[in-house]
């Protein structure tokens, strides 16, 4: 046992010695440790700023001219197409013009400040409301609402989400580089989507077209 003990002692001595020498070594190789530390630190900073800071830097927030209560209007008018209608030639009118609004808002109907702004600043002055459009696509895109809504009987929700149930307008987030709304790329900065309306990039169009029609379609189908 003494031998064993010795061995252990030796071992421990050895270990101690080794440890000492190890410590020394570590002292001599401290660059690796710092390197790892720096790596981790830089990784963490970049990773986190990429996920957290970058999106807020990339997008500028703009407020709409005044708030618009979709839920209220849907309840009053009955559906999306009362205001967002097709013109006789099959083209989609999009955001209604003042002339459509004043069909009901001949004079102020409610008591909200927003409606007051609309009436005094826009209707009375004969100026169209400069709404910021969340779903505005680049100029090269031709999107046929008729093909999707009338032809394929799709719901507005499939692409536009539940905006019709919203009571307030969210701030418009404009991409500082492209000038387009954040909603095109999607709220998720990685571009991950859960719902069909989360993203509106060309790949998303193509994905659905592939599923539904068996082909992504030719370029001119959606471009001009």
């Amino acid at each position: 046992m003494s031998e064993l003990e010795k061995k252990t002692e030796n071992g421990s001595v050895g270990a101690a010695e080794d440890g000492a020498s190890g410590e020394q070594k570590a002292g001599g190789d401290s660059g690796v440790g710092m390197g790892v530390l720096f790596f981790i630190a830089a990784f963490a900073v970049c990773f986190l700023s990429g996920w957290l800071l970058f999106p807020s830097l990339l997008y500028s927030k703009k407020e709409q001219p005044f708030n618009f209560n979709h839920a209220l209007h849907v309840a009053e008018t009955g559906g999306c197409d009362s205001c967002h209608f097709f013109r006789e030639d099959g083209s989609f009118a999009g955001i209604p013009k003042n002339s459509s609004c004043v069909e009901c808002h001949e004079s102020q109907l409610g008591e909200t400040e927003d409606e007051a702004i609309f009436m005094t600043e826009y209707v009375e002055k004969g100026v169209e409301v400069p709404w910021l459009i969340y779903s505005e696509q680049p100029d090269c895109v031709f999107f046929s609402h008729a093909a999707h809504v009338v032809g394929a009987k799709m719901d507005c929700v499939s692409c536009h989400g539940h905006i019709g149930e919203s009571e307030t307008l969210k701030p418009y987030q404009e991409n500082r580089i492209t000038g387009y709304s954040r909603d095109i790329w999607g709220e998720n900065i990685w571009g991950i989507k859960k719902n069909s309306w989360d993203r509106m990039k060309m790949d998303d169009c193509a994905e659905c077209h592939q599923e539904e029609t068996g082909s992504k379609g030719a370029c001119f189908q959606c471009h001009k």
Binding site: F86, D89, G90, S91, P138, D139, C140, F142, S144, H145, A146, A147, V150, G151, A152, K153, M154, S158, E212, T213, A218, C219, F220, Q221, H223, K224
Partner: protein, 281 residues
């Protein structure tokens, strides 16, 4: 969502009667104003002049007074390529998929935002129908106000060409969808700007797959020969390259028809004979 099952594929094409064409240039301007084509101070260097529709002047090169001239409007031919399978010369070479063949319409697209300006397609096109934007477009003060939203204005560094006024097809389809007619578009609903403007009525446009359409009746395309015209007075440019253009020309004048391709000595006679034989069948 219900699946929208597109009907039978179209094959949009154009027939130009060269005996009616007066060379007035209306088609060129109709095209330019329809498609937001820009212009420069000097446009006399025709190599850098953007004209999707160009009217060429052909001559029989005979001495006075045997001389004859013929005007030949040349849009994009929207080639079907060998075998008419959509392998157009330009589409085959584009490294960016900025130009593709629409199998549902037979129209060759050009997507400006996708194009990066390598100009392979221009080299590949045997009809010089493609144009490169060497400069950014510039309009005199205020003139941008007349630009049409139907066609995207192009930027410097991309190729552009005739689209058979595809945006008019898009609009016609919008209407058809809205009226729940799906993909059934009447002949008159989709016409190109040049066809509509031609004061001589020399241009006819329609679906070459539809025997009811005027274009079909005029040239009687042969389905077994990739749409080669069965009307002996009709021809396509550089037929023997097998690019299978969708633009047909009609002329009573033999020298004009002969000018449609490059023939070696004696070849034209044989060509005529074989065409004549087919005409009798």
């Amino acid at each position: 969502m219900t699946q929208d099952n597109h009907g039978k594929a179209h094959k949009f094409g154009m027939v130009i009667d060269l005996d009616k064409c007066t060379g007035c240039g209306s088609c060129m301007v109709a095209c330019m104003s329809e498609n937001n084509v820009p212009f420069k101070e000097d446009e006399t260097n025709k190599k850098d002049s953007l004209t999707w529709m160009t009217v060429f002047k052909l001559s029989n090169e005979k001495n006075f007074p045997e001389t004859d001239i013929c005007y030949m409007p040349r849009p994009c031919m929207h080639c079907g390529g060998k075998g008419d399978h959509g392998h157009s010369p330009c589409v085959s070479v584009c490294p960016a998929t900025a130009t593709d063949y629409g199998y549902d319409t037979g129209i060759v697209s050009q997507i400006y935002t996708r194009c990066f300006g390598c100009r392979y397609c221009m080299g590949a096109c045997p009809y010089h129908a493609r144009y490169f934007n060497w400069w950014d477009p510039k309009w005199p003060d205020g003139m941008e106000e007349y630009l049409s939203p139907d066609v995207s204005p192009r930027m410097r560094g991309v190729v552009e060409k005739c689209s058979f006024c595809y945006h008019r097809y898009q609009e016609a389809r919008d209407r058809a969808y809205y009226e729940e007619r799906r993909d059934t578009i009447e002949e008159g609903e989709y016409q190109t700007a040049c066809t509509q403007a031609c004061p001589a009525g020399a241009i006819t446009f329609g679906d070459l797959h539809n025997p009811e359409h005027e274009v079909y009746k005029l040239v009687k395309p042969d389905p077994h020969q990739c749409g080669k015209p069965r009307n002996p007075k009709a021809f396509r440019l550089l037929e023997r390259l097998q690019t299978n253009p969708k633009v047909y020309y009609i002329s009573e004048r033999e020298w004009v028809r002969k000018a449609g391709d490059n023939y070696r000595k004696g070849e034209w006679g044989q060509q005529k004979k074989s065409d004549g034989d087919k005409g009798h069948k």
